[in-house]
Each structure stands twice: as C-alpha cells, then as structure tokens.
C-alpha cells in the first residue's frame, strides 16, 4: 500500500535519512526502531508531508497506492497531501500535552476533522465523536467531549489524539512514539488499544519507537534504523531472535530484560525462547557480597531487622511521611538542608500548614553494598521520598537515619546536572574541595586532588582528553558518567540514583548500567535506585520496593517480587514490560 523507495532527506547539507526503503501492506503494523537521531521520525514526517520547510527530499519517492505522493526534485504538493491526510492517513504524536490545542475543548478538536472531510450534520458529527471516544476507551465520553486538554490526564489526551486519528478510518496510521510520554500501565492500555484498532479496522500502522519491547509486542514487522539508514528489516521474529546485523544484535542485547536473567538468579523461565539465550548474551557475573546477602534477608518490613546479625544499615527510614507544601515555598534551600531527619517541632505542627501528604509511612533500610530499587509511576512519590532522604524537603514526619558521610545523588537529566560553565576536571575536583573545606582532616593538596580526579575519570571509562572540556562538548552518556564520577569521588558509601539511565538511548543505557554495577562492586556502594523502568531495576537491584500513590505496597528480593508478585498493581507493572 505504502512504498518508500530509496528515500533520502537532507537538512541543509547533511542527509539525515539515507536510501530508506520501506513497504507497508494493508492491515500490517510496521515498527521502525532506532535510537535518537537515527532518522526514524524524519522518515515518518516526510511520509506525512509534515517535515519542516528546511528539509529537502534529495532522492527517491513515496508512493501511496501507486500514487506518487512525494518525489525528489518535484515540489511539495500540499493540495495532494491535504486529500490524503486525515482521510487516508493520520498521525499520532508523542506529546499528548502539546499536540492538542489547549484553548479548545477536546470534542471540538476531534469534530474539526469531521467538519473538514465529511458532510455530516452537527448532530451526526457529535454522536460520531462520542462513539469514537467510547471506542478508544474513554468511558466518560460526554465529559471528555466538553473538557479542555488540561483537564484530562496524559493517557486520556493520547486517547483523544487516537480518536482524532482513527475517526475517519484512515488506511494508514503513523504513530510516532505514542506511548513514550506515558506511564507503564497507561502505556499498556494504549498499546492494546492500537492493537485492537488495527485488528478491527484493518488499517496499516507505522509504529515508531525506541522501545524494543514495545515493537516486539505490537508489530508484525520491524525495520531497524541507524544514522539515517535502515540496517535491517524483517518480521519481528527474524529481527529480534536472529539479528543478522551487528548493530541490531547490539541493540537487542542492550535492552535490559528479565528474560535474560540475572547472574546467580538461576531463573529458568519457561516462556524464554531458545533463540534468545542463543544470542550470546554474556552477563557479567556479579558477586554478592556477604553483607548484602545478610541484608537481603531482612527485607521484611521492620520486624525482622533485629534478626539480622549483619552489618548496620547505611540508611534507615522509619515511618517517614513526606508532605508537599502548596503555595510559595520561599525558604532557602540552605535552610531546608539543615532539617535532615528532624521531627517536626511543636511549633511546626501547630502553626504550619501540613500540606498534602505525598509519601505515607515509608519504612525501610538499605545495607552496605546493597542496591534497593524503587519502582513506581510518575507522581507516586518516588522523587519526594528521595528528596526527604537527602533532606532537601523537610516537611516530613518520622525519621531518616544516615550512616554514610554525605549521600550523593545522580539525577535523570544529564544535561542539567553538570554546571555548564566549568570544565570536567574542575567539576570532578569540586566534591574533594568541598569535603576539605568542611573537614580539614580531609583536605588534600592540589596535586593529590587532581590525581584523584583523573583516576576517577578513568574509572568511569573516560580518558584524559575530556579533562579540560566543558559539559556542552560531551554526549548524554558521557555526561552521565561524569555525574556518576562526581557523586562517587568522595566515596560516600550510599548514593541515590534517580532514573539515571532513563534519558539515554538503549545502547548507552546498557553501558551506564554496566558501569554502575562495576563501580558498585568495586566501592561496596549502597544505592537507592529509582526508576519507572522495571527491567532496568531488575538488572540493577538486589531488592525492590514498589510504590503506588505514596505507599510502599510491596518489598522483597528482586527475584521474588518478579517471580511471584503479591500485589495486583505489581503484576500490572510486570505485565507491561
């Protein structure tokens, strides 16, 4: 139905899409997978005729039912496209926040499509929109119809977008990362919805994603893109189970997966396809330190702590509730810092508004060398909890007891966690300078400091060349390495990693995770590892905690929780990935 022949697209002088050949048949879901910058979005936008003016089609052509939509050399035919867009093909974008007009009610925006392309009466249009809303799983169709986008949740907005895309039963739906901005459980629902639509309406779908799990679950065929080229294409089984290209193999291996098992976990899963184990995935075996094993036993909340004869926990959180104070929080960050672990004073209790409680009675310990995973969807209180532990938020009740010098944190966004005006060398020395200024026994000479920083830089896998560079000259993965180095250089014994790999591409993600594991072992580091990605947590952590709406609902050894989840919510999370 759709044929993309030898397509090349260039911005200015650089080609971002090179010689791409894709074919899409009726009723088929074609996945286009690749890392950021691989040209997958540009390909889709070119197909839809939505690519920006600056892009030129330099070679090849796009055919829709043997009609040439776009051809190199020929000018962009907007009249032709208008006939196809909406009726024959439609698109679902990644950001449900920005792809709906915030000033118009959702119903009206969907109606627009019908008003432009059909001759239905007002009533017919309305009932058709409501019917489509119900079909895409919006139960309160009437309410959604009259709501502005900001009154809807992310998942609902994406459903509205999908309703808009399918209302005219187009033959092609292009979905550009439609679930990336959504939480795991919502993500599952949307994927199911797309699959159902595909089954019922028999339309073809071009599904663009960086998430190989998703592609595998949803698509019939996949094309793997890298640097603007399609490196491999075929059925899902061919590509994922018998990748012929080295890059595809690397990509598949890089994806953290429970199916691959953990070293020492000895999990023989029945559903594991033979091909996958045959992929030659070599796990770096991790030695479980003694203490950690001892600590893991005490995963039962509170009570069994006394029973563990192991070492003292590096962090003990007791009955911690965290409040979020509305309105202006004009206190200085320094003031906030001071309040670590203190109970709210009488004054606070009587005169201060408590605010909304975002974490309820959290209760857990972390032992030396252990990594504890904290999983949950956005807004469940993960970040509030970590801030409370570090003392950034002091609207807390309960106790946080540290046994480490200064817990450090690695943030999600590698682009904002390094000071852009400093060089890497300076950044790495700063924690040492700070430690020396606080405690004169730790003060180092300039040469020692430099040597320590250079050593740390090597340990995170970066060479001397980067010493004098600034963060802007580094890639995301490299920045995250520097962040990690900065957090670990003072040997804190305990760090909090808040989604440290979520902003990275899969292959980089895998490298950073390897690095984490290596350093954790070398430095005998305890770690609270926060993530929404359950597979990453599985790979990284000894124990995990599942958090939902401010409550820790399940805690246990990673294998136990994954193998035998007790809570329905945990099952839901697991099922999604």
């Amino acid at each position: 139905m759709i044929r993309i022949e030898d397509l090349s697209v260039a911005f200015g002088g650089t080609e971002v899409v090179k010689h791409v050949n894709l074919e899409l048949r009726d009723g088929e879901i074609l996945g286009v997978v690749g890392e950021s910058g691989s040209g997958k979005s540009v390909t889709a936008l070119t197909l839809m005729g939505l690519v920006s003016e600056a892009a030129r089609v330099t070679r090849g052509r796009i055919l829709f039912d043997n009609v040439v939509l776009r051809e190199a050399g020929a000018p962009f035919d907007s009249a032709l496209y208008r006939k196809y867009r909406g009726v024959e093909m439609s698109m679902v974008f990644q950001e449900p926040q920005t792809s709906l007009n915030p000033t118009q009610k959702a119903g009206r925006q969907v109606e627009e499509v019908l008003r432009l392309h059909t001759k239905l009466t007002k009533e017919e249009i309305r009932s058709k929109v409501l019917e489509t809303f119900r079909a895409v799983g919006l139960q309160e169709a009437e309410r959604v119809y009259g709501s502005y986008p900001h009154q809807l949740s992310g998942g609902m907005r994406q459903r509205v977008m999908i309703a808009m895309a399918v209302i005219l039963h187009p033959r092609l739906i292009v979905a550009d990362e439609p679930t990336t901005a959504l939480d795991v459980t919502i993500q599952n629902q949307i994927v199911e919805l797309l699959r159902r639509i595909n089954r019922e309406q028999k339309n073809a779908m071009l599904f663009i994603t960086h998430d190989l799990h998703l592609a595998r679950r949803l698509c019939h065929r996949v094309a793997v893109m890298k640097d603007g080229c399609v490196v491999e294409a075929g059925t899902v089984e061919e590509v994922f189970d018998h990748p012929s290209q080295a890059y595809t193999r690397r990509l598949v291996e890089a994806v953290p997966s429970r199916m691959k098992g953990k070293a020492g976990a000895g999990r023989k899963s029945g559903e594991l396809s033979a091909a996958e184990t045959g992929n030659g995935i070599t796990e770096v075996p991790r030695e479980v330190p003694q203490e950690r094993a001892a600590g893991s036993k005490t995963s039962e909340i509170q009570g069994s702590l006394a029973g563990s004869g192991g070492s003292a926990p590096v962090l003990r959180v007791q009955n911690l509730s965290v409040y979020y104070q509305d309105g202006k929080d004009n206190q200085s960050p320094e003031q906030a810092e001071g309040g670590t672990g203190k109970k709210r004073s009488l004054w606070d209790r009587i005169f201060r508004k408590k605010g909304q409680c975002v974490v309820w009675n959290a209760d857990f310990e972390i032992y030396p060398g252990e990594s504890l995973g904290l999983v949950g969807e956005s807004g469940c209180g993960k970040t509030s909890l970590s801030k409370a532990i570090l003392g950034i938020n002091r609207h807390i009740e309960g106790a946080v007891v540290h046994n480490s010098v200064r817990p450090q944190m690695v943030f999600q966004d590698p682009y904002s966690s390094l000071n852009p005006t400093k060089t890497i060398g300076w950044l790495l020395q700063e924690p040492l300078r700070a430690a020396g200024a606080l405690d004169h026994s730790l003060a180092m000479t300039r040469a020692d400091r430099e040597a320590a920083a250079r050593n740390m830089l090597r340990r995170v896998g970066m060479d001397e060349r980067y010493w004098g560079r600034r963060p802007s000259e580094l890639s995301g993965g490299q920045r995250q390495r520097v962040s990690i180095a900065q957090a670990l250089i003072t040997n804190p014994g305990f760090i909090i990693a808040d989604e440290p790999v979520s902003a990275l591409d899969v292959t980089i993600q895998a490298q950073i995770m390897e690095l984490f594991l290596k350093l954790q072992e070398e430095m005998h580091l305890a770690c609270l590892f926060i993530s929404h990605d359950i597979n990453v947590v599985y790979r990284m952590c000894d124990r995990i905690m599942v958090m939902k709406e401010g409550h820790i609902i399940e805690t246990g050894k990673t294998e136990e929780v994954f193998g035998n989840p007790k809570e329905d919510y945990t099952k839901l999370l697991l099922w999604g990935s």
């Binding site: 004009n330 206190q331 200085s332 960050p333 320094e334 003031q335 810092e337 570090l390 950034i392 200064r406 817990p407 450090q408 944190m409 943030f411 966004d413 904002s416 966690s417 390094l418 000071n419 852009p420 005006t421 400093k422 700063e430 924690p431 300078r433 700070a434 430690a435 200024a437 606080l438 962040s483 900065q486 957090a487 003072t490």
Partner: protein, 270 residues
C-alpha cells in the same frame, strides 16, 4: 567575548565595534590632548561655522566645539562606566543574596527597589543631588542608586532560577559552602543574561548623564559635557545650528554604536 568567535563577526558587531571604538578613542585622547584648549575663548572666532580650522565650528564664546565634544565624551563615558560598574556590583551582591536565600531580607530589599522604581528616575536623582550637592562624585552616587534596582531584579531572577538547578542541588549535597555556591557555581552561569543588562544599563546611563547635565544638575561649567553643551546651544539653534548638532550627533553616535555592539555580541553568542 571576542575570543570566543572563531566565527566571523556579524555586521552588527562590526559596525558597533567601529562606532564605539571611534568614540572611545576620541574620549580617551580627550583626557590628555585636545586640538584647542576647551576653555580658551576667542572673541574673534565666535560662532564660526565648521571649517578646517574648527571642524565642528565654535560656540558663543569662540571655543572649539570639537575639543569640547572630545572632553564631553570622556566625561560622559567615565561617569556612565562607573555608574554601571558600581550599580552592577551592588546588583550582583544584593540580587545573589536575596535570590538565593529568599526570606525576610529578600522581601525587604524587593520592597525598597519597588519604592525606588516608583519614582521617575530623574526625580530621584534630583532628590539625591539636592541632598548631596552637585559635582561629579555626587552625580555618580545618585545615578548608581537609581540604576541598582534593575540589576538587583535581573540577578535575583537568575539566582532564583538556578538555585534549584540539578547541578546546584548536587553542589549542596557535596557540602559546598554557601558563598562558593553563590559566586563560583552560580554567578558564571548568569553572565550571558547579565551582560545584556549591563549593555542596556550603559546606554541608559549615557542618556541619563546627558539629560542631567542638560538640566544643569550634572557636570558643572566650565567643564564640558555633552548635555550642558546642548543646553548652552539651545539659544542659537537658528543662527548657529552646529553648536547643538555636534553634541547631539555625538550622543546618538555613542548610544547607537553601543546598541549595535551589544546586539552584535548577543547574536554572535547565539
């Protein structure tokens, strides 16, 4: 700034550098040497129009206008630079502390700046001058006072924005001291924004200084300043227009050149 440009200068920067350069050169030379004495009067050469002998002509006392413009340029630029220097230092200190720490001090300083902003700036300088008396130093003090609030606001806003940046949070977690965070970690990050406001502030200072000496509350005669030259020339606009045109043109040249310069730098950076 210039070192950063491995790229070619854009035309704004080019024009700005040339215009500002000429003005600065004339002003600096004017401190040490002028073609004629700026105070030497000549009864025979009153109101002589621009010629090779006096390229901007002479005024009602027969003084060489070009020489006086050179001196005036120097005066104006020195006063404006000092005003910008003092008020930006004050602005950085107060803005950094109020923005980062917040609290009562912040409230107090912000209300004071609100109050200062409530008065027309020329009125405010008049009040200060009338309290302190006229003279170069007092003009600088008065104008610095008037210019400080805008710098405080800009710096404060940037510090509020950056105090919760991830890298600043991490610096706090490392245990970096407060003042080190303020001036070593945050301050370099606000320079691109601050630079723009310094440029704008400098232009405003030039205009304000000229306006004040035009009103007779700035630099006092017989010292030349662009503003008081304009006001002196007012009476002879019909008969000797060059007396007003020369200083007027110079002010425009200076402000335009500097605007182009700052715009050029802004674009070069982007």
């Amino acid at each position: 700034m210039k070192k950063r440009s491995g790229k070619k200068w854009n035309k704004y920067l080019y024009a700005g550098v040339v215009m500002t350069g000429i003005a600065v050169l004339l002003g600096v030379v004017g401190f040490f040497w002028t073609p004629y004495s700026t105070t030497a009067m000549s009864a025979t050469e009153k109101f002589s129009p621009p010629s090779l002998r006096h390229i901007f002509g002479t005024d009602n006392f027969g003084r060489d206008i070009f020489s006086r413009v050179m001196q005036g340029l120097g005066t104006t630029m020195v006063i404006s630079s000092l005003v910008v220097l003092f008020s930006s230092i004050a602005g950085i200190l107060l803005g950094a502390v109020t923005g980062y720490f917040g609290g009562i001090l912040d409230e107090a300083v912000m209300r004071i700046t609100d109050a200062l902003n409530g008065f027309p700036s020329i009125l405010l300088t008049l009040v200060v001058i009338s309290l302190l008396g006229s003279g170069r130093q007092n003009v600088i003090i008065a104008m610095s006072l008037v210019f400080t609030p805008s710098f405080i606001r800009i710096v404060r806003g940037e510090f509020i924005r950056l105090r919760d940046a991830d890298y600043i949070r991490r610096a706090r977690m490392m245990g970096v001291g407060k003042f080190r965070i303020l001036f070593i970690h945050i301050l370099p990050n606000i320079f691109s924004v601050f630079w723009v406001s310094v440029m704008i502030g400098f232009n405003n200072a030039i205009l304000a200084e000229s306006g004040m000496s035009y009103l007779g509350i700035g630099v006092q005669p017989p010292d030349a300043s662009l503003g008081n030259m304009l006001s002196d020339a007012q009476g002879y606009l019909q008969s000797a227009p060059w007396c007003a045109l020369a200083p007027g043109f110079t002010i425009v040249w200076l402000v335009l050149g500097f605007s182009l310069f700052s715009e050029g730098i802004r674009r070069q950076g982007a």
